[in-house]
Amino acid sequence: MTTTGQPVAVELESPPPPGPAQPPPRRRFGSIRLRGTLTAAVFLAPALITFLLFKFIPMGRAIQMSFHEVRPYLGDVWVGFDNYTRLLSEAEFLTAVWQTVILAVGQTAGSLIVGIVLALLLEGSARHLWIIRTAVFLPTVVALAVVAEVWRVLYYPGEAGVINSLIGWFGLGPSEFLNSSDTSLWSVMAVGVWRGAPYDMMIILAGLAGVDRTLYEASAVDGASIRQRLWHVTLPALRPVFAILITLAAIRGLRVFTEIFLLTNGGPNGSTEVIMTLIYKLGLERSELGIAAAGSVILLLATIALTLAVQIARRGRPSRKAKR
């Protein structure tokens, strides 16, 4: 709150100095440091005010709402942990948590594995490789809403659908894809891998560029096969990159919303319901704001816990510094 008050006054004070004749006020250390702090505050104010209004206050409201029965215009009623216990005893929520975890793990692992394969296949400095990598990278740049619409068309159930006619060549299908509760979650996951793998590929390529070439030579002298070289030299060198990619993807996986909302909206029969789609429905369709807020807080805590766990795990590994 102090950040909102300060800058307005400072802004009025700061402009005078531009004239070259005016020396800075001579009050030694204290005033110079104060001036520096004030200018820093002015320059930081727009960012901090925006974050305060649209990140931190909503976060505070989420925590506050999660302990209340929220009744617009009537005033909130304190209910303690009621919202949490109601949410956690709800089968619908537990299913959503389970499906979120499956989706997050599957997409993270799938993107990473496909990303490694792509990176190894498309590594190199030739111009044609650069062009191919750019083409492969496109899914990551395209808006998620477009990705979802394209895949809905590709996934069209029935023999005439694009993917169904493709897998038909191999004597498979036709599959219902998004329309059957047996295949819907996997179909959504495949879209996530399709969009996530090129991103992982690019980061892994950057990691591959940093692998010490003399190690390759040394292993070749020792008579290592390509497979041994990959396993003992390349993959260990990429470990820090994997740690980052897994963290980022897992955090993104927890809050997955848009693709589910557009591909299946949780259906059929709740088979693709994830935490975020459930929160959205609870809050904006069923007006259970307190329970929805409790869901948000749980998701928030999970995100923070995941981030901290990875940070601690990375700090604990001393070899990281040595590698740089």
Partner: protein, 290 residues
């Protein structure tokens, strides 16, 4: 010569000139492109193909038509597109200004509490719109201290994206590299704080502006939850949001939907292709350093 080339890559097969491995390698490339770019290419082709059947996509169109686009414009796609451009234009402008200003303080000034500020900015990256959706919709309806209702106004999609932790951090990293001597020289010449910021630091930030510009563009264009919370009427929808409405409109065929999807895809792809080197640089500096 060939020995050193062999170790350019982990697999070491890029240097092989043997015809069989070459064919094999190009086979792999084609598969990669078909799998990842294919769906988008089919979108491109079929947006120009008369399609009525909701399943059939063609690879080689027999007739090329702009019908889908004219019909898409009849369904209000131009309005959605303008909304999108309005939001991205002002959102990106605000985001760049805010990032520059915050990065200037973080990279060029020393002040107590700097670590705390950095930590706060980092922590915002754990607070995305998705997770905060429900309280955020209440905050947007009655912005604290100001008491403005941003619901139902395109500014509700613009103001919250003005500050983005990622672009502030990328900009800060970049500004740290600018030599202090330049700043000191300007100060001796009598330049004030804003003068230094605008005439000394800002011009040197152009490469980083490219990076945060394109990342910000892609990020704001891809926004879904925020516009969904803010829009009260389909007339305020951005193009990505409108795709869902178009899909469920019984009078809109697949061709029209694909035409609209193509329009929603093109700006970010064009921006990416135009600045891909900067994009890749930002991608790796943002991720591998973190």
């Amino acid at each position: 010569m060939s020995r050193t080339e062999r170790f350019d890559t982990a697999l070491g097969f890029t240097s092989s000139r043997h015809p069989v491995t070459r064919i094999l390698r190009w086979g792999v490339y084609v598969v990669c492109i078909v799998v990842f770019a294919g769906p988008l290419l089919s979108l491109l082709i079929n947006a120009f193909t008369p399609v009525s059947n909701p399943t059939s996509l063609t690879l080689i169109p027999d007739t090329v038509t702009f019908d889908n686009f004219t019909r898409a414009f009849d369904r209000g796609v131009l309005g959605y597109l303008l909304n999108s451009f309005f939001v991205v234009g002002f959102g990106l402008l605000a985001q760049i200004l805010v990032s520059l200003s915050a990065a200037y303080a973080l990279a060029r000034k020393k002040f107590p509490g700097m670590r705390l500020v950095l930590l706060l900015i980092l922590s915002t990256m754990m607070l995305p719109e998705e997770i905060l959706a429900i309280p955020l919709s209440l905050v947007l309806a009655d912005v604290p201290f100001i008491g403005v209702n941003l619901i139902g106004s395109l500014f509700g999609m613009i103001i919250p994206v003005a500050a983005w932790g990622f672009s502030i951090l990328v900009m800060t990293e970049f500004m740290k590299e600018i030599p202090v001597e330049l700043e000191e020289a300007a100060r001796i010449d009598g330049a004030g704080e804003f003068r230094i910021f605008i005439s000394v630091i800002l011009p040197l930030c152009r490469p980083a502006l490219g990076v945060i510009g394109i990342f910000g563009f892609v990020m704001i264009w891809d926004q879904y939850m925020l516009p969904l919370l803010v829009a009260t009427d389909t007339a305020q929808y951005t193009l990505p949001l409108a795709l869902r409405t178009l899909r469920s409109d019984p009078q809109v065929g697949l061709g029209v939907l694909l035409a609209a999807a193509l329009l929603a895809l093109l700006p970010s792809v064009i921006a990416f292709l135009a600045m891909q080197r900067q994009f890749m640089k930002g991608l790796t500096s943002g991720a591998v350093k973190g």
